[in-house]
């Protein structure tokens, strides 16, 4: 029997689809990769082996993978402070990510960025971002650039429920609507704005916030990778064919705190029952079981993927630890680019 989610009107659990087997298996693999990467970071943080602080994506894996699996390699994303999942789903190397998180020269930014500033323009990753809502105008502008230059790329702007109350969210939706930009606003609503329930801080439904501007809104179960993927496919098709922006609100839940180590000050702000319920709706287990049931993958194949991804994350830790720390003098590099353009002298 298919259970229907009363709010979204969709089946409450992911199902296997007619997509190629390899693609469905790959989506499962990418969610597992994010899960194992983040779990490893949690352990490293606890042992004090990471400089700085991290915001983990555990529990939200279906959003990043559902969205990014609908994109082309040359499409772009902007991301958030909770961005490791987006970056991995867009194709980033976990070796270079881990090295960045360790502050090493083989990191994506040679150790200059860290968790909240992971960038790889060659993969269309325009950066995780330390400012809540900071990436929204940048992604909107990326879509403007592509449209102006006659390309059919799309840009996905990831942001959280907290960022939906930033002015730039409304401003950017307005600009995207009047200029019909190929941008997809993906709100990951994990229920908490830092340590406060989002419903106490946010009027109405986030998905409806584009409606007055004529931007279609799609509310999806963010723990259902198929639902996220299907909503994104529709939004991408609209964007690529010049029909403008879409807003997707994906309801999900973060298993860990706003940031690792929050137990030192945050107290118990989330009911245990709520946490247990959401953990019972593990997006990876749900999708894996659906694929096994449909014969898209066997349990041993699933186990094999998990073992391989776990080993790859271990290897990335070794890679990071073996990568040198940057020469302190590098702190003075990379401020300004030096090559001017044009032929006026």
């Amino acid at each position: 029997m298919t259970v229907v989610d009363t709010e979204t009107g969709r089946p409450a659990n992911p199902t296997a689809t007619a997509w190629p087997v390899a693609e469905q298996q790959h989506m499962l693999r990418m969610m597992i990769r994010i899960r194992r990467f983040e779990e490893r970071l949690a352990a490293l943080f606890k042992r004090g082996e990471l400089p700085g602080f991290v915001h983990l994506y555990l529990g939200e894996e279906a959003v990043a993978v559902g969205v990014c699996s609908a994109l082309r390699a040359d499409d772009r994303i902007t991301s958030t402070h909770r961005g490791h999942g987006h970056v991995i789903a867009k194709g980033a190397s976990t070796d270079r990510m881990m090295a960045e998180l360790f502050g090493r020269v083989d990191g994506y930014c040679r150790g200059k960025g860290g968790s909240m500033h992971i960038v790889d323009f060659s993969l269309g990753i325009m950066g995780t971002n330390g400012i809540v809502g900071g990436g929204i105008p940048i992604g909107t502008g990326s879509a403007w650039g592509d449209k102006h230059l006659g390309r059919d790329n799309v840009t996905v702007v990831f942001f959280g429920d907290g960022a939906s109350n930033q002015g730039v969210f409304f401003e950017s939706m307005n600009l995207a609507a009047i200029w019909k930009l190929p941008v997809i606003f993906v709100c990951e609503n994990n229920g908490y704005t830092e340590w406060t329930p989002t419903e106490k801080l946010t009027a109405g439904r986030i998905v409806d916030r584009g409606s007055p501007m004529g931007i279609p809104g799609d509310l999806v179960d963010g723990n259902d990778v198929v639902a996220v993927r299907e909503a994104t496919d529709k939004a991408v098709a609209r964007a690529r064919t010049g029909q403008g922006p879409t807003l997707i609100e994906a309801r999900t839940y973060r298993w860990h705190g706003h940031n690792e180590g929050e137990e030192a000050f945050a107290g118990a702000y989330r009911p245990q029952q709520e946490q247990d319920d959401w953990r019972g709706r593990d997006p990876i287990a749900a999708y894996g079981h659906a694929l096994v049931q449909a014969g898209v993958i066997t349990q041993p194949e699933w186990d094999e993927i998990d073992l391989a991804e776990t080993a790859a994350v271990e290897a990335s830790v070794v890679f990071a630890q073996q990568s040198p720390l940057p020469d302190p003098e590098e702190a003075l590099d990379h401020l300004f680019a030096t090559t001017s353009t044009g032929d006026l002298r």
Partner: protein, 337 residues
């Protein structure tokens, strides 16, 4: 089109015409837009242009390259970061310098830092320009000059020309530069006029200009204080005091060598700034000379800048706060006392 930069104090040639400051900016914009079709101009009402620097560009380049934005400074300042990364070369008219405050996160935390944070992965060729500073009873929210605080945001180049000639050549260089550049057009200079070559020419960023040579005192003047300093220098000449007036023209990068070598000759330094005194560019330049040229100084350097209050509305109040010719004169005489 190729021309070498020449001093703005040189005699006008056949191809030069008397040109308003804002029109010189427009000529720079026009040249850069003709040179490279990735250059686009956006901002509020840039089609008609309140201040004038973009007026008429839409006739030559059309509404997709001269594009009006909603009044959403934070968003259009930030959108240029994404657009530049995608391959455009955006030029943004913020209209009034004070409006930079509205967009501060996108300017200071995003545009200025993305290249550095990414380990140099990307170049972001963006120009943010605005009419700035007091315009005559503009009151506190339309009179700000943000160059001092923006100098402290690593990752932004800052241009502040004082003549139409410099305005054109620096606009072209700012647009051709592969980095975010803040270009500040002092309000009160917008309607000033001088000879500007018709052809396009570029003035490199980071090269200051001796606006008047002299031997007794070095006056480094910024933006709207340059013509004031020149007026004072001319008057003092009659009293037998020879003042050298230097316009750095760009504050980031700053032509430290030009300033230090002038002070090495004169032994005396006054810096005038169109900004509040605390942490002004004047403060920075005086500190730089005190640190790197202390041995050449014969007298304590002087700073001439605004009082540390918001710029008030009523004319006598405004006058009391801003830099007046007499303030500069007194500071020069103090170094000679």
């Amino acid at each position: 089109m190729t021309m070498t930069a020449q001093s703005s104090t040189s005699e006008p040639t056949a191809t030069q015409r008397p040109t308003y400051f804002v029109n010189a900016m427009k000529e720079g914009l026009h040249a850069a837009m003709s040179e490279d079709d990735r250059v686009v101009v956006i901002g509020e009402d840039v089609d008609r242009s309140v201040i004038g620097a973009t007026r008429g560009l839409i006739d030559d380049f059309g509404p997709m390259r001269v594009r009006n934005t909603p009044i959403s400074e934070a968003t259009f300042v930030g959108a240029c970061v994404g657009a530049a990364a995608a391959g455009l070369r955006p030029v943004v008219d913020l209209m009034v310098g004070s409006f930079f405050y509205v967009a501060m996160d996108q300017l200071a935390d995003q545009a200025a830092k993305l290249r550095y944070m990414s380990g140099g992965q990307v170049a972001l060729p963006i120009v943010y320009f605005a009419a700035t500073g007091p315009s005559g009873s503009g009151a506190a929210q339309h009179s700000e000059n943000l160059h001092p605080m923006l100098m402290n945001v690593a990752g932004l180049k800052i241009v502040m020309p004082s003549t139409p000639y410099d305005a054109k050549g620096l606009m072209i260089s700012a647009i051709r530069d592969p980095n975010p550049v803040v270009y500040l057009q002092d309000f009160v200079l917008g309607g000033t006029k001088s000879h500007v070559p018709e052809d396009a020419y570029a003035i490199p960023l980071g090269v200051g200009d001796v606006k008047k040579p002299g031997t007794d005192v070095t006056v480094v003047a910024i933006g709207a204080t340059v013509p004031k300093a020149l007026r004072v220098a001319k008057a003092l000449e009659k009293e037998g005091i020879s003042v050298e007036v230097i316009d750095p023209r760009t504050l980031v990068p700053l032509d430290e060598d030009l300033i230090l070598s002038s002070v090495a000759r004169t032994g005396r330094l006054v810096v005038t700034d169109s900004a509040r005194l605390t942490c002004s560019a004047a403060s920075e330049i005086v500190a730089m000379v005190a640190q790197s040229g202390f041995g050449t100084l014969k007298a304590a350097p002087q700073r001439v800048a605004w009082e540390n209050v918001p710029v008030p509305f009523s004319p006598p109040l405004e006058k009391r706060v801003l830099v007046q010719d007499d303030d500069i004169r007194r500071a020069i005489l103090a170094t000679l006392a």
